[in-house]
């Protein structure tokens, strides 16, 4: 490919035409304060969008569009760029017609309106990552997609507002035999997952707002389930029903899918927790290096088991590591941001990041992971990613050994 490397800093030959004369935007009025009552990104950022990989699935109603991680920074994922995974398209629900049912092994079987949910005591605000268990699933056999948007873009990190699921279960009164709950969506897939009662009573939320505003339609408007640290498929969107029972339901998404086929032909089920993982988002194939000299490497790290305690970065394919700077909040089961400021002389780099959480779990290499799991798992690929930065700055998804 053609080189992407710029000329680098140098004294200007003459006055910069972007300074002299004064640019037009400093001389004439721009658009007024309310041209967009609901604002949108700059036209110069038009490429920063979710992208679908159309060959991955047979239909867009059961597919995924990926978060452009390479262009994002900080810890919050903007609502408009949170990755989308549907199994029957987006349910468009009039909030006045929304109903939420709790039944099964409870003392009182109940129906709630959205207003009821918003009137429940104990509302909370919490930031959590949501990662699809199939994130990086295309990479089990080897480097395949050139861009962290596609290799790692099934994750977002959002501040949720909602009510602990426990509050509803408490009102309904879980019977002693109630050991699992089934959460069900109101979409055309009527998406269902079985969740152990301990988790349901622990930190799950019945959420109606994200990043300060109502849930987005593609994220379950008006109500979704939040299942901190656990695989995204369980975070039922358009939540319509919670049923309490004494055993799991063995639904399609916990048998045919979201089970992990190992090399010996056997399969792990109920692999709910998302292990510690990280990825360098820049440089990456969609965000090549453009200048020699000072550069900022950045990426994200997260763990479903707790809080990210440390992220190490290697520029030589894992031979030597430097601890990166975690910057901004590091909440349990939330995405953290890390930086490494470095000088680049134009040599080839093999960039990797390695996350550690506060349980002591260290993100494994792909080799370590394959040694235990083989390459047929599809789900839960949290192996260390390598980006090859060429001397012209171009960056490619590779594997090393």
């Amino acid at each position: 490919g053609a080189g992407v490397l710029g000329a680098g800093p140098a004294a200007a030959a003459g006055p910069d035409p972007n300074i002299v004369p004064v640019p037009d935007w400093t001389k004439t009025l721009g658009p007024g304060v309310n041209v967009n009552p609901y604002g949108k990104p700059s036209k110069f950022e038009k490429d920063v969008v979710r992208r679908e990989v159309t060959w991955l699935t047979a239909s867009s109603e059961s597919s995924v569009s990926f978060t452009p991680l390479y262009a994002l920074d900080g810890v919050i994922t903007p609502n408009g760029l949170c990755f989308v995974r549907h199994h029957g398209g987006e349910a468009e629900i009039d909030p006045d017609k929304y109903r939420f049912m709790i039944h099964g092994m409870v003392e009182k079987e109940l129906v709630f309106t959205l207003e009821d949910i918003k009137r429940m005591p104990g509302r909370v605000n919490r930031a959590y990552f949501l990662e699809c268990a199939a994130n990086s699933g295309m990479e089990w056999r080897g480097a395949q997609l050139n861009g962290c948007q596609f290799t790692h873009g099934m994750i977002h990190n959002v501040f949720y507002t909602g009510v602990p699921l426990r509050a509803f279960l408490d009102i309904a009164g879980v019977k002693p035999k109630g050991k699992w709950v089934l959460a069900e969506g109101a979409d055309a897939a009527a998406m269902t997952r079985s969740i152990p009662i301990e988790k349901a009573l622990d930190d799950c939320l019945v959420a109606f707002a994200m990043n300060g505003e109502a849930l987005r339609p593609e994220q379950g408007y008006p109500v979704r389930l939040v299942v901190p640290g656990w695989e995204g498929n369980m975070w039922i969107k358009w939540l319509r029903r919670i049923k309490v029972g004494d055993q799991p339901w063995q639904q399609r998404e916990e048998t045919s899918k979201y089970t992990d086929l190992l090399a010996d032909g056997r399969s792990r089920r109920f692999t709910f927790i998302m292990d510690a993982k990280s990825v360098v988002t820049s440089p990456s194939p969609q965000a090549p290096l453009r200048q020699k000299g000072p550069n900022v490497l950045t990426g994200i790290a997260w763990s479903g088991r707790g809080t990210i305690r440390r992220v190490d970065v290697s520029l030589d394919g894992g031979r030597n590591w430097t601890t990166a700077r975690i910057e901004g909040p590091a909440y349990p089961m939330a995405m953290t941001r890390f930086y490494l400021d470095f000088d680049w002389a134009g040599q080839e780099l093999m960039v990797q990041s390695r996350a550690m959480d506060d349980t002591g779990y260290v993100q494994p290499t792909k080799t370590e992971l394959r040694a235990v799991r083989g390459t047929n798992s599809i789900y839960h690929n949290n192996g260390i990613q390598t980006w090859l930065v060429r001397s012209n700055g171009e960056t490619e998804n590779v594997e090393v050994g």
């Binding site: 991955l56 109940l110 005591p121 269902t192 063995q250 089920r269 109920f270 093999m350 390459t375």
Partner: protein, 240 residues
């Protein structure tokens, strides 16, 4: 005055944690986070007057899940033959006449003996642990675009046909609420609970290597798809 709940006694009185005191020092361009308010207030002693009783008809309308032990199965029955007719009419366009899958639509039959291979084919017969899931899912979500349109009898018939396509029941089989629990799928025994905390214990390392952790490192594989927005005749995806 109105009754007021949920004001934890400790709020306000709470000693400021050390962490934050430090972070509040003047002249530091940093920002500390405080301790969140903690667990939501315990449910009021008095029951919360929200939600109304669910009516039996309402529960019946939404309570569609079916479990391996047969819980949730409706009254009814259907034969492989009836199922074939229904399948050819409503399903085969996507899943193929014999469940072999058209284009990229899911394959539903075959694949036995492939689970250890390089390209496992995971179907009802080769992979799924429980027949109840077929009933539940077909009624819940199929035909794609017309969910929950199949009657119990139709669903029994289609499931019977799918079992037959996977060589699990004979051509003259009639599936019903009564004989459903007898249907066992061959791969059931090969599922086991998440054991990462024991089988992957090696991933918990106190001090990962920082320096000279390996010999020379070489690129062993490169991305197959070079365009960041893949299009055209690409390989069949493995996002399931």
């Amino acid at each position: 005055a109105p009754e007021v709940k949920g004001a934890p006694a400790r709020a306000g009185a709470q000693e400021k944690p050390e962490v934050e005191k430090a972070s509040m020092e003047k002249g530091k361009p940093q920002q500390a986070a405080n301790v969140p308010a903690g667990a939501p207030p315990a449910p009021a002693a008095k029951a919360i007057a929200l939600g109304r009783p669910a009516l039996p008809e309402e529960i019946a309308a939404w309570n569609i899940d079916v479990r391996p032990d047969g819980e949730g199965l409706p009254e009814g029955k259907g034969s492989v033959k009836e199922g074939e007719t229904l399948f050819l009419h409503s399903c085969a366009v996507c899943h193929g006449e014999f469940g072999e899958g058209a284009g990229r639509w899911p394959v539903l039959a075959g694949g036995q003996g492939t689970l250890k291979s390089d390209r496992p084919e995971k179907t009802i017969g080769s992979f799924w642990p429980y027949a109840s899931t077929v009933f539940d899912y077909v009624h819940r979500a199929m035909p794609f675009g017309n969910s929950q349109s199949l009657t119990p009898d139709q669903t029994y018939a289609i499931v019977a046909y799918l079992l037959n396509l996977n060589d699990l029941v004979p051509e003259d089989y009639v599936l019903s609420k009564e004989n459903f629990p007898k249907v066992a799928l061959p791969n059931q025994a090969n599922f086991y609970e998440d054991d990462r905390e024991t089988t992957e214990k090696a991933f918990w390392k106190k001090e990962p290597c920082m320096t000279d952790c390996s010999g020379e490192v070489h690129v062993t594989a490169r991305a197959q798809i070079l365009n960041v927005t893949p299009e055209g005749d690409a390989p069949k995806g493995n996002l399931e």
